[in-house]
């Protein structure tokens, strides 16, 4: 046992991938010059990885692209009030175990907001995490002010360790299932500690059949590839992956065209694991027995299953496909969606739909759900505004002076 800041942490089970328990938790200003220099150098170093490597680690290249200098500048310009802001201090992150690079985004959001960070990495091993850490260590060596404010840790699921880190934190970033969030929130924290939690969410797509029919072959292919990236790329299991596809101005021919295009892309790119094929087929049988709301199920080999719903109801969020199992429904009116929408709803991806008008409509209907309305293909694009939170602002505080 070692002492750190008056809190005893059972450190023997904690593996410090980077940093140590002696972390400097003094805050910095958002978009601090030194921090921005570091982040953009990290981005350049990542972008210089061999192209074949970047191609196989699309999540890592997305991170590198997001954190490049020009984008940092663009983000910074969106905030007019950074001069009166400063970070909160020490941020403790619990990252998702199944999305390899999410921890790095979480870390960079908080660093840019001006915080020191302890990040619990996924205990599952992924090559892109190793690659990131390797590059990170090289770059951070030149930035001691950031190095001493950073710790990447791995430890087995252990409530004592999580509780010990929790006690020290000024902010907790809790990515997780609803159970994890409840568990961590129940752990004692400093009185001023801010929790930003990312609960289990449900996402959907809204596609205009008319626009699909009007699309050229190239546009259609692009649409299908974008849809693939939103769904199959993460086995359809990310919170922002659409589970339900809603059709506007429905037309059976448009649906056929769309799904065939998706099938073609999946055929080329998706490697269907044996166990996923069995899981999917089992789900099909279970849904056939238990879900009275299913009208029919269409199968395209085992790559793509489409279950057509009879109606939209509040139950639909509990029915989730994996690895290419989608629910679909032809909307007669957008109010059908509004009527069932809850705070569980996160991302709506769209094709051929006016996003601003849709947002206005939702707002006029006093909706409790939907945090993002983005084009098909951008479901996974995590950003500093996420899940309805402006993370830069929530992870920093204001010092008012008149």
């Amino acid at each position: 046992m070692q002492k750190s800041g008056g809190v005893v942490i059972p450190m023997k089970n904690v593996n410090f991938i980077f940093g140590s328990e002696n972390i400097d938790s003094s805050p910095m200003q958002p978009f601090d010059e030194n921090v921005c220099a570091f982040v953009s150098e990290l981005s350049s170093a990542l972008l210089q990885l061999p192209p074949p490597m970047l191609r196989t680690m699309s999540d890592l290249s997305a991170l590198a692209f997001w954190s490049r200098k020009a984008n940092l500048q663009k983000m910074k310009n969106l905030y007019s009030d950074i001069n009166e802001r400063i970070g909160r201090g020490l941020c403790f992150h619990i990252a998702p175990s199944n999305i390899p690079i999410n921890f790095a985004f979480s870390y960079l959001f908080s660093l840019l907001a001006g915080n020191a960070n302890i990040v619990r990495l996924p205990s599952k091993l992924f090559p892109q995490i190793d690659t990131f850490c390797e590059v990170f260590k090289k770059v951070v060596a030149k930035y001691p002010e950031i190095g001493k404010r950073t710790a990447f840790v791995r430890y087995p699921r252990d409530n004592e360790i999580t509780a010990a880190f929790s006690k020290k934190a000024d902010v907790r970033m809790i990515w997780g299932g609803d159970e994890t969030i409840a568990l961590v929130k129940a752990m004692p924290a400093l009185p001023h500690c801010v929790d930003v939690s990312f609960a289990d969410r449900y996402s959907l797509a809204l596609i205009s059949a008319k626009s699909v029919l009007a699309a050229s072959a190239t546009e259609l292919k692009k649409l299908a590839e974008n849809f693939y990236n939103d769904t199959y790329l993460m086995d359809q299991n990310a919170c922002s992956s659409p589970q339900l596809i809603l059709w506007e101005n429905d037309n059976p021919k448009a649906r056929e065209i769309f799904w065939h295009a998706v099938y073609d892309v999946a055929m080329q790119k998706y490697s269907l694991q044996d166990a996923v094929a069995v899981d999917k087929y089992t789900l099909l049988c279970e849904e056939s027995i238990s879900n009275e709301n299913i009208l029919q199920i269409a199968r395209y080999d085992n790559l793509l299953y489409r279950a057509e719903l009879k109606s939209l109801n509040p139950e639909i969020v509990f029915h989730r496909g994996k690895g290419g199992f989608f629910y679909e429904y032809a909307l007669k009116d957008i109010s059908e969606l509004v009527d069932v929408m809850t705070e569980k709803y996160q991302t709506l991806t769209y094709f051929g739909v006016d996003a601003q008008a849709l947002r206005s409509k939702f707002m006029a209907c006093h909706v409790r759900g939907i945090d993002r309305i983005v084009p098909v293909g951008q479901a996974m694009n995590i950003d500093i505004v996420w899940d309805g939170h402006d993370l830069l602002r929530e992870l920093s505080r204001i010092i008012r002076a008149f």
Partner: protein, 358 residues
């Protein structure tokens, strides 16, 4: 072909063509029967757009995944007719399969197993040494499937003797007595693969003890996963069993609680055989099309026996490959195949689980 007609044949006598015809008609009838009798099964087949007229071969018939028996109680006869409910030996905390048998099914399964086993050892009942503990019979809640297997097999022998005591130690005196008593006649042995390895082979080897069976036949069943981890394959297993027990013919067999009538026995040439009553169809996971001979895929098992529950066509989570048809040197007709074991668990990406569940 009716079940009675099946029972009149030697269980490995139908060649591929004759069997396909017999099975197709029989399994199609069974499919339609379960469609009428089991509402859950009907719902699945309706969603799969099942049409009897489109069925041209056994591989065209719809199948359901084995796991379904864990989440649903699937029955095609009235509850009152169920005389026996089998449960799988799931590890603690996991859901277990529930299989409902009526008197007719129990009778037919016993008869089938009898036909198959006696084609290996003859019709007479041999002295039986069970390589397990008698506790298994008493504590049915703990060892349901294992216990059922032991009890089911006991009918082929006489003077059933358990080799292990309640603490899973070999009762050496009892085993020595058994072999002495029957030293000049054939004996039968039965047990679970890993139990035999762990509590018989390894223990006897460590103790430096050897029994001296003169003329024994051992049937064993169960997964190979733990043995594979120790790099023990079938040949090694057989060699080591013979090393500690003596002159033993070892037969591995494959089966599952969800389809008890399907018993696939490995012949002297190391090939698993389908009897007349059952078949395997190896399917590609990408579209469930039938794999070519020699190609690895998911194992679907088919059996003409299940009438009380819709378990006549089941997709397992095991991987296998058909090695050949009608031409095994052992002379048994039909398909022969190899099993590679359970498919790998799915590695699912996603954000639903952060603080990994144990």
């Amino acid at each position: 072909m009716t079940l009675e007609e099946f029972f009149n044949l030697n269980p490995y006598s139908l060649d591929c063509q004759a069997k396909e015809k017999a099975l197709k008609d029989n399994l199609l009838d069974l499919t339609c029967y379960h469609y009428e009798k089991c509402p859950e099964y009907k719902k699945i087949l309706d969603k799969l757009c099942f049409q009897p007229s489109k069925i041209k071969s056994v591989s065209d018939l719809p199948f359901i995944p084995a796991r379904l028996f864990k989440n649903y109680e699937l029955r095609s006869v009235e509850k009152e007719k169920i005389v026996k409910t089998l449960t799988s030996s799931g590890t603690s905390g996991q859901a277990v399969s529930k299989i409902f048998l009526d008197a007719n099914n129990v009778k037919n399964q016993t008869k089938t197993l009898n036909e198959i086993v006696s084609s290996f050892i003859g019709k007479q009942r041999l002295p039986l040494l069970l390589l397990d503990t008698e506790l298994i019979k008493k504590d049915r809640t703990m060892y349901s499937a294992r216990g059922a297997g032991i009890i089911g097999f006991s009918i082929f022998g006489r003077d059933s003797t358990y080799a292990l005591d309640n603490e899973m130690n070999i009762d050496v005196d009892k085993v020595v007595q058994f072999f002495e008593k029957y030293h000049n006649e054939p004996v039968l042995m039965f047990g679970y693969t890993y139990m035999i390895w762990q509590f018989i082979v390894r223990v006897l080897e460590e103790k430096g003890l050897k029994f001296n069976a003169q003329n024994a036949v051992l049937f064993h069943i169960g997964g190979w996963k733990k043995l594979k981890d120790q790099a023990v394959d079938a040949l090694e297993f057989n060699r080591r069993v013979q090393g500690v027990l003596g002159n033993v013919k070892v037969y591995n067999y494959y089966g599952m609680v969800e389809q008890l009538g399907s018993v696939f026995v490995e012949c002297e040439h190391g090939h698993m055989h389908c009897s007349n009553y059952s078949d395997v169809i190896i399917r590609r996971s990408k579209d469930f099309s039938e794999a070519a001979i020699g190609e690895r895929g998911l194992i679907e098992v088919a059996s003409v026996l299940p009438t009380s529950y819709p378990g006549h066509l089941i997709l397992t989570e095991d991987e296998g490959a058909v090695l050949g048809v009608d031409d095994c040197p052992c002379g048994r007709k039909g398909k022969y195949f190899k099993i590679f074991g359970r498919i790998k668990n799915a590695e699912i990406r996603g954000c639903s689980d952060t603080y990994e569940k144990r």
